[in-house]
């Protein structure tokens, strides 16, 4: 009797966890299933788990929707450009905070960490006025360029932690060989922190791909819309009937890159969450 009890407990635990997993993934399932339904099926009064005759009509029509394709391209374009610039500048700054001894380092580092307390939204109003003066409103610049200045204190912190763990002897021997900081940064340190760089890149990618507020403020014409902004216009409260199959098709296509990245980078992400959170 005493041996059976823990086994039952274990089985119950698995049933519970599987149930929780199904619940957590349900919105995804529903999104995909609804994208394959007809309009009537999405508004049906009974539960339709799977459409009886799955239709790709919504997919075919969305691939002919120029505004959607354009917003897809815009998102890829702005995400790529911003990601590369942000990642490199973050690594450069993290190098300064971990591999070089300079007066004022601790103070500047403290200042950087304290910016994490400033809600980004507190800055959107004056930044908008600034970008308006630069005539950058209505261009991609305001959502790309600020990242180039090592945007994201938490990410700098994460990379600094990994860089500090590299033995100092490596740079010193490189110094003796006549290398300068730029060479050490690029040829010695960067290759050794590939995994943390992947973590940071993934977090940045997710943040950029999902970003709504800044693109909403600055990209004021349909031509420039990114996916989150464009997809949000598909749902229009003033219509009596929402085109749910179309909206869900757009939703599936928007989330595919996120899921692909998550699938390949989950090891980095799952570790990164804990590292960035707990060493702080």
């Amino acid at each position: 009797m005493r041996e059976i009890f823990p086994i039952i407990k274990r089985i119950l635990l698995y049933i519970f966890l599987t149930g929780a997993t199904i619940l957590m993934s349900f919105p995804l399932f529903w999104m995909i299933s609804s994208s394959l339904k007809t309009l009537e099926e999405t508004n049906s009064a009974g539960i339709i788990w799977f459409p009886k005759a799955p239709t790709l009509a919504a997919y075919i029509s969305i691939f002919q929707n120029e505004a959607f394709l354009r917003s897809y391209f815009n998102t890829v374009f702005y995400t790529t450009l911003s990601l590369v610039g942000t990642l490199i500048s973050i690594a450069v700054v993290a190098y300064a905070f971990s591999r070089i001894e300079w007066p004022g380092r601790e103070l500047v580092f403290f200042l950087m960490l304290s910016t994490m307390l400033i809600p980004p939204q507190a800055l959107i109003v004056p930044q908008y006025v600034f970008f308006n003066k630069l005539k950058w409103v209505g261009t991609f610049n305001p959502i790309i360029i600020p990242g180039f200045f090592a945007g994201g204190a938490a990410m700098v912190f994460l990379l600094r932690q990994s860089m500090s763990q590299i033995p100092k002897e490596l740079d010193e021997s490189a110094f003796v060989d006549g290398a300068n900081h730029i060479q050490i940064f690029w040829e010695v340190v960067m290759p050794l922190i590939k995994a943390p760089l992947a973590t940071v890149a993934t977090f940045l990618f997710v943040g950029l791909w999902n970003s709504l507020l800044a693109p909403l403020m600055y990209l004021q014409t349909v031509d420039l819309y990114t996916l989150p902004v464009y997809v949000s216009t598909l749902y229009n409260i003033n219509l009596t009937v929402q085109q749910w199959p179309t909206i869900m098709t757009a939703a599936v296509l928007t989330t595919v890159p996120l899921m692909v990245v998550f699938f390949f980078a989950q090891r980095f992400i799952l570790e990164g969450v804990v590292v960035s959170g707990l060493k702080g």
Binding site: V108, I145, N210, P228, M259, V274
Partner: protein, 384 residues
């Protein structure tokens, strides 16, 4: 060049890089000059130069995108500046702030709504995260798959696309969530009482918060007098002012995976010997959790609380996607940041918007400072 937005962005990006390199070089030279003045050794001068050179992208960005904007917004918050009119800003003193805090019912409603998300949503979110973490911490096979499944919602999180999927699921009549509730009650009628009790409690709480925001508690007495909900009632998710915030709470709970990972790491850090010793002494697992795991987890709870609170106070996307343009519902759902966005960018009142940002900033700061002050009372670091 401006006609092609992509080319324009690329050219500006190159220009920005050149600007960053040059300004960093300038800052580095300046730092070396000061090091030389103080009579530092040659090696130290070089290190000062390199340090400031490498740190400058952040320093320069901090000045351009944080310090200067904050200074301007502080100044504008005392003026009636509007970005579209070409008139210069007029100094109005504390008018914006008194208007905002004393008279602006919309802003007060947004604060109360955000408070609801923080006071009701956040504890629920943390409780679910902790519960899942405890379940996962028992050396489960396939832990990795479960962790992935629980974390995926954080990645998809507040993407518009996913929020719209929730919008579809939350439809009152045909939405899958209410259909499942109805089906579950039909299959097992006693669940109906659970459903009705939850609806009653939720509507009372919600009506109380709505009463706080407009100063009249008529809705609360109405809900109370209507009494226990009828048998055929279902939640009115994105349809009723009493439920608009609860829908957002549901989204918060769905995205509890990041907190769960933190809790899981905390649970795994607890020495096994402690549990084994307590087991020998005859403590059951419920008791062991509250007497051993929970006190040792308090630093992790504190961390999640701070981060969760800052996130809850800054919620924007779900409100925008679910309730934008929904006139009867938006006052019951809008968050502080949504209100800021509305004031600044649909009416372009920069002076007033700046005052709102400063009030939000100060609220977040006060809440965070209070949390840090209170931590001595309940967070146990000494156990590590």
């Amino acid at each position: 060049m401006r006609e092609n937005p992509y080319l324009y962005a690329l050219v500006t990006a190159v220009a920005a890089i050149i600007f960053i390199v040059l300004s960093s070089y300038g800052v580095g030279l300046l730092a070396r000059f000061f090091a030389k003045l103080t009579g530092a050794t040659r090696r130290k001068q070089e290190n000062t130069f390199a340090g400031y050179l490498f740190a400058s992208p952040w320093i320069v960005g901090f000045l351009i995108f944080v310090i200067v904007p904050m200074g301007f917004s502080l100044y504008w918050s005392f003026t009636d500046y509007r970005v579209i009119s070409n008139q210069p800003a007029n100094w109005v003193g504390f008018d914006n702030y008194t208007q905002l805090i004393l008279k602006d019912s919309g802003f007060r409603a947004s604060i109360i709504n955000t408070l609801y998300l923080t006071a009701i949503g956040l504890p629920l979110q943390m409780a679910v995260a902790l519960f899942l973490a405890v379940m996962l911490s028992q050396n489960m096979r396939g832990e990795r798959i479960f962790r992935m499944a629980f974390y995926l919602p954080v990645i998809l999180g507040f993407n518009t696309a996913v929020l719209l999927a929730w919008r579809l699921m939350l439809n009152t009549g045909t939405g899958i969530i209410n259909q499942m509730i109805r089906a579950a009650i039909q299959a097992f009628p006693p669940l109906g009482y659970v459903n009705r009790a939850i609806i009653f409690a939720q509507e009372l709480a919600s009506a109380f918060f709505l009463g706080l925001s407009n100063g009249k508690f008529t809705l609360l007495t109405k809900v109370w007098e209507a009494g226990f909900p009828a048998a055929n009632r279902v939640p009115l998710w994105v349809q009723s002012p009493l439920w608009s915030k609860m829908s957002v709470v549901l989204l918060m709970i769905w995205g509890c995976g990041a907190m769960m990972l933190i809790f899981l790491a905390g649970l795994k850090n607890i020495p096994k010997e402690l549990h084994e010793a307590a087991e020998v002494d005859g403590a059951n697992s419920w008791k062991r959790f509250w007497k051993i795991s929970f006190p040792l987890l308090t630093p992790y709870i504190f961390y999640n609380l701070i981060v969760g609170m800052i996130n809850a106070l800054q919620i924007f996307e779900p409100i925008y996607v679910l309730y934008r343009d929904n006139q009867p519902l938006i006052p019951s759902a809008m968050s502080m940041v949504y209100y800021l966005w509305q004031a600044s960018f649909s009416h372009f009142e920069i002076g007033y918007g700046s005052a709102i940002s400063w009030v939000i900033f100060i609220i977040i700061l006060i809440v965070t400072v209070i949390q840090f002050k209170m931590q001595d009372r309940w967070v146990h670091y000494d156990l590590y």
